[in-house]
Symmetry: C2
Subunit: 341 residues, 2 copies
């Protein structure tokens, strides 16, 4: 399908894909796609694009791994999306709107866009698909999410992911092109639920990391993950998401993977906070983005607007942004009165 085609039907098969953002997850999704269809990944930095094209590597984000020779990169947004019949956007939340706005003139009216990013925009509290709807109105918009630690997918470990789109035929086309020998791809029409889960899980992973940094064990982590999913579900349901999503791969699955993996940046930030380091110190040493640190405040504000309690998220906000120590946060959580679950 041509970008600017007048075709009213959703595409039935993906023939060419674009991925915006050459971070670890963007590069991984582009690598998966390139095994099936011509795929261009957009890197903000020209050197990164050149490295992918010439050395088939991305040392900053996926050190030690070889990318598929078929994967091509560009630092031109226009070139990246020119012939693509689907666009995946894997830009961190703080730069998401800017890239999407710059992209808009080059995107056909029927080209589907799928967010790979799991954050919430500061100030506006907007989710990534809301930004896509605002900046690129009228296009089919969805997300790809799930328990997907990039490095493990690149290594070929068995995993599963979820394509969330309202349009069944389009979802099936994207399911087809993403499915690989070690990757099961599920469909889910609940875009909002998938997206809220993806943003909230990073916040809970920060809390889980804090507990580990304080020296606590697996009961504590499992309890935070479980009660965290309850918070995530309450907020997600209020925003229109489905309980079945929160219990599935995009909800619980992604939450568990992020909370247990030493590779998770959000868990790592929490771990260091739990050990008594300050957020400023930690962020100064990381070159990747920990979305949970930024998303916790807008998510808590959104929940507060609905009168929804999110005690774990509240403690993450307090530790990240209000000077509370992780130990004090733990004591607050344990002092809560509990009854029926």
């Amino acid at each position: 399908m041509e970008n600017a085609s007048g075709d009213n039907h959703a595409i039935s098969a993906v023939t060419r894909a674009a991925v915006l953002g050459a971070g670890s997850w963007g590069t991984t999704v582009a690598s998966l796609l390139s095994a099936r269809v011509p795929t261009l990944v957009w890197a903000r930095r020209e050197e990164t694009a050149a490295e992918i094209n010439r050395a088939h590597s991305n040392l900053s984000y996926l050190p030690g791994l070889t990318l598929p020779a078929a994967l091509q990169a560009t630092s031109s947004l226009a070139a990246a999306v020119q012939d693509a019949d689907v666009i995946f956007v894997g830009v961190p939340s703080h730069g998401f709107r800017e890239v999407v706005r710059e992209l808009a003139p080059f995107v056909g009216m029927r080209t589907p866009l799928l967010s790979l990013s799991k954050g919430v925009e500061a100030v506006t509290n907007a989710r990534m698909t809301q930004i896509l709807h605002e900046e690129l109105p009228g296009r089919p918009i969805g997300v790809v999410t799930g328990p997907n630690l990039a490095r493990e997918i690149m290594t070929g470990h068995p995993a599963a992911t979820v394509v969330a789109l309202h349009d069944h035929g389009l979802a099936t086309a994207i399911q087809d092109v993403l499915t690989g020998p070690s990757l099961l791809v599920y469909r889910n029409p609940d875009v909002v639920g998938c997206e809220v889960a993806g943003a909230m899980k990073n916040v809970i992973a920060v809390a889980c990391g804090m507990a580990e940094g304080l020296g606590f064990g697996d009961n504590t982590r499992a309890t935070i993950i479980t009660r965290g999913l309850a918070e995530l579900s309450r907020l997600g349901e209020q925003l229109g998401g489905q309980q079945s999503t929160f219990a599935g791969l995009a909800g619980m699955g992604d939450l568990v993977a992020t909370c247990i993996s030493p590779q998770s940046r959000n868990r790592t930030v929490g771990f260091l906070l739990g050990q008594g380091r300050t957020l400023a110190e930690i962020l100064a040493e990381m070159h990747m983005v920990a979305e949970g640190v930024k998303s916790c405040r807008p998510l808590l504000a959104t929940a507060a607007g609905f009168g929804i309690e999110m005690p774990i998220c509240e403690q993450v906000v307090a530790v990240c942004h209000e000077g509370r120590t992780a130990r004090e946060a733990g004591i607050e959580l344990l002092a809560r009165k509990v009854g029926v679950e």
Copy 2:
């Protein structure tokens, strides 16, 4: 309340407790209780009872930990339950009915019994509370369950547990006596749901261990945990359990803790199977019981009776009892056709 009292009301407060079974979890629950009320733990072996009484230790199950001085032990079932107004039964599933049958003459008609065991009886496919109802008809019967790795609770790491009983007042009394400075206790009237979750989670933990033994990472584990919870929920709902239980601490919480903890015996058995060892070799070296290995067959049989698919449980049965390798099991799971989650 006296055991044989004619009182028709549930107890309003626990004044004396008995715990049957001095394994790691029985000893831990008894230790928690002994901080609040006089508590007797029954140990099958006289030497274990003597060790608890004299050395305040249980080297076989909780090496390196000191038990509360207030905790008393006995190897006499009659003595253990004589004055107790609540009895916790923490005997492994294969010896559960025998102990309960021997116990029956000493248990008052109104004395509540709570199972601490997470297994299913071979041959009969009976859950532990079903055995209690059969052998001790008429008594209030429930379970205590949740993400409760014994050693961590003993060490005072923050955790949460669930008391499942139909009777609200009785559940509150037990909630009160179990609550400690680092332990939050929730109530849940869904006894069946809590119990099915407790049994199934051990099976899923075996599968999770297998994936780890095969060298797979956190995405794979998170996916098994999530799809495992879906199996557990399907079976549990069919048996009368509630979805909210499966999404809570007794369901997801316990499942996650068991699947991620190196302390879990079921995960360890799976890990060694994943590394290519045989079940016979592994069990010969363990002195503790891995309930999942025994429960997987009766649970699969129960599900089959309802026409419910449990693909992960099916692979655990095949690897544990039918000579399939863990690698072959993984390939079977990945070959499944998937669609909407």
